[in-house]
Amino acid sequence: MVEQVPLNHALIITTLMFFIGVYGFLTRKNLITMLISVEIMLNAVNLNFVFFDNYLFPGKLEGHFFSIFIIAIAAAEAAVAIAIFISLYRNIRSIDVEEANTMKH
């Protein structure tokens, strides 16, 4: 744990970061920027796991391993998402969410 930094302050920081990600996810229209917002949210969750692990249950390393697995899943998710974006761009020449509706009807 970091000396002289209470857990509450750390959690306030991750809360702010998470809801910044939520804000970006709901206001953006470009798929890549939405992916960036998702990454910010995942990052805030990782930090939360690490802080709880480090302050409340030191030595057990559970949050540490959760964060590692979340990073691995985020990497897989980003790879598949970007493959989908490139395929989508090839088909409709745009990666705007409002134009990606060919599978809707």
């Binding site: 970091v2 939520v22 804000y23 409340l56």
Partner: protein, 173 residues
């Protein structure tokens, strides 16, 4: 306030400011670069809580891998100089209300709960401990999720190749 607290709050400020810039910037490449700084600040905080392996993973996988992937896809799909249009004002206001509501609710819970930090019992997050836990199948071992993740990564890799592969040209190709 000690030096470590000052460094911690500096990293925190870097993270918050660059996250906000990443979700509000009108230029898409800048948003990706701001994301890089936010992830770097997070790695700094991992260093401060002595999780060096996690910090290294954060820097290589997130800052080195995902951000480069995002930048490549931006270069493939967008014009660099192009500015993204802003969302509608009502949408921004409604989303800000949702976000602020979530922040207020979470902060209400966080500030009203008394956390009792425990002193570290001496277990270091060094490579030996991490390796033994990741491949351990006894109590506190993570070999099952480790194997599942490896299968998931293989599936994601093959899936990404299949999805992004160009279809065979049909006549006019």
């Amino acid at each position: 306030m000690g030096a470590s607290a000052i460094i911690f709050y500096t990293f925190a400020a870097i993270m918050i400011v660059f996250s906000f810039l990443a979700v509000t910037s009108q230029k898409i490449l800048r948003a990706a670069v701001y994301l890089l700084f936010a992830l770097g600040g997070t790695a700094g905080i991992y260093f401060m809580v002595n999780y060096f392996f996690l910090a290294a993973v954060q820097l290589t996988v997130y800052a080195g891998g995902i951000v480069v992937l995002i930048i490549f896809s931006i270069l493939l799909t967008s014009h660099i100089e192009e500015k993204m249009q802003k969302a509608d004002a009502w949408k921004i206001i409604l989303t800000a209300i949702v976000g602020l509501g979530g922040v207020v609710l979470s902060l209400f819970v966080i500030t009203n709960h008394v956390f009792i930090p425990q002193a570290n019992t001496g277990v270091e997050a060094n490579m030996t401990t991490i390796g033994e836990k990741l491949l351990g199948y006894g109590a506190g071992g993570y070999v099952l999720p480790f194997e599942v993740i490896s299968v998931l990564l293989l599936a994601a890799m093959i899936g990404a190749i299949v999805v992004a592969k160009r279809n065979k040209p049909e006549g006019n190709g």
